[in-house]
Subunit: 335 residues, 2 copies
């Protein structure tokens, strides 16, 4: 167990006890110890490994270093708009060092996880609010998709045409994923499924309220906006959320690959408290906050110095400025 | 004060005391007394005076009767998708008996009321999520509208184009009205206005979660769905809702026409508990529930017999099956 993090020493105690900010990693020996203390590294993508299409200096070397040291490297994004292979392609294009090392079976995205969950539930026919890539991930598991992608996009509505909607009674679940082609027809159709089809499930791929754009300067509407609209329209709350901070990915994928690895040797690395850090907490594993995305360094420093934030208590075990800093510290250690 | 309604006798006491169902109007003498006891009648439209484009038998005669007896007749709808004149045209086309009697200055719709409220607040430039008719009502009061109607409809989005949004910093409020042309661009633009423009207000025309379609058999998404999506995207709750059950219309219009009429002689007539009946309660006036729309007769009977409904306690002073029944009872009295 790390001696860097005071909070990690209380990991067996209640969540309440862990509501404090962990220790900053700011020296080479701290960085080295952090690597030595963990075997499984789960990285968030946007804001952690890169910013949109902008690479971060040193991140490729850091990832390569982890592979060289036989660490198990995963990526986990709440974004449901790409397939797993598309993330592999994106990361290896940005960081050629990991080409051939980083593979599809180590990518966790909400589209993939939603397919897993539907399989568990025995659901084979769904209505989708989401992108064509979400549709592809679901179809690749043998699930029949109504709606989704371009289907039903561009349909405007008036009160009269609402009377003509007949929902497909064989739909077993409505899936709310991030959908930039959201429109009134899709909201109306899916809320009618939830109201009229007995047993129809309401499944949300992820609970992200906002999406950072342009290095966090703009916050665009995330999937939770659509989920809230649909919950209001149908009078029903979602039956479940799939992605971070829900621990489903841990049970369904990571723990399967690591039945015997102690939780204290697994770490979730990310820039968002509400998703990444809480996933670590909910999964009972360690967490490292990086300040290259949504959460600012000022915020981490304030938390470390004991300033309370009642709305969003601080729960990470470790934090560092960003992964570039982490790699530079490790390089100093090398020399 | 009416002797028909047990609850009206406690009108001076707290709201808690009034959480019970009022008396049914089922005899000619009860109907006659109800008319005699009130001077100002405020009718909800859809589900009360008509169902979509279907007229209700006797409603024209009832309205004509009220005019003949020198009652003041208002209509009040939460729908923001038509102008006041359009409602006058619709009602007089359905019920030619009131042609020339029912006039624009007695129509309260959320589009009109929103204009009034903006005028009060000194707001002259807004971004609108809503129909072209809402835009017209606002423009008729000298308000400059960005967005609204066909503007920005049909715009799909990707993450990259989000970076190119520049909000107009002179927008003073975002208005969320019912918008069947809702899309991701509009949600993103309006949520950025709320996040980035200092002092920008968030105003919702009405809090209707669902809209009944096809005699209440289908419930379609109402304005509150858009409001909840926008609140989630912006991290802000609305500064205000304008229409029923908010008492704004009472202060801004009805009370102005009736500075000296006792509240006990004014009555809100409608089919929805959450909007119509609560408007009566919030405005301190009487209320009559009709069972020709969202609320069923079974519900009213159950409430009258004392069956509790914790989620939506019963608060009406009177109820009757529908306005056709009311008119038929009055006709029996005539003969």
């Amino acid at each position: 167990m790390s001696t860097l993090s005071s909070s990690s020493q209380t990991s067996a105690s209640s969540h309440e006890d862990r509501l404090r900010a962990g220790t900053q990693i700011s020296t080479s020996s701290e960085a080295r110890k952090f690597l030595d203390d963990h075997d499984v590294f789960i990285f968030d993508l946007d804001g952690c490994l890169y910013d949109g299409n902008i690479t971060f200096d040193g991140v490729g070397s850091l990832l390569k270093r982890l592979y060289d040291e036989h660490k198990d490297v995963w990526c986990f994004t709440n974004n449901s708009s790409k397939t797993r292979q598309q993330y592999v392609d994106k990361v290896t294009k940005m960081y050629p060092e990991v080409d051939g090392l980083f593979k599809e079976d180590r990518v966790l995205c909400s589209a993939y996880l939603t397919g897993l969950r539907l399989e568990q539930l025995g659901i084979t026919r769904v209505y989708v609010l989401g992108t064509q890539n979400l549709v592809r991930e679901l179809e690749s598991r043998g699930i029949t998709v109504v709606g989704g992608g371009e289907a039903d996009s561009g349909k405007a509505m008036d009160a009269e045409s609402l009377r003509e909607i007949n929902v497909d009674p064989t739909i077993q679940a409505v899936i709310s994923g991030f959908d930039v082609q959201i429109n009134y027809y899709k909201l109306a159709y899916s809320s009618l499924c939830l109201q009229l089809i007995p047993g129809c499930k309401f499944i949300a791929t992820n609970p992200d309220a906002q999406i950072p754009v342009a290095k966090g300067a703009l916050m665009a509407p995330g999937n939770l906006c659509i989920v809230r609209a649909l919950a209001t329209a149908s009078g029903r709350e979602p039956d479940c959320f799939i992605a971070k901070p829900e621990p489903f990915a841990m049970q369904a994928a990571i723990r399967k690959a690591h039945p015997d690895t102690p939780s204290s040797r697994m770490v979730m690395v990310g820039d968002r408290i509400d998703t990444d850090i809480h996933f670590g907490l909910n999964s009972g594993i360690q967490s490292l906050l990086v300040c290259s995305g949504v959460t600012s360094e000022e915020r981490a420093i304030a938390a470390s110095s004991g300033q309370e934030d009642r709305k969003d208590p601080c729960v990470w075990d470790y934090w560092c400025v960003d992964l570039s800093t982490m790699e530079h510290l490790l390089e100093q250690q090398d020399n």
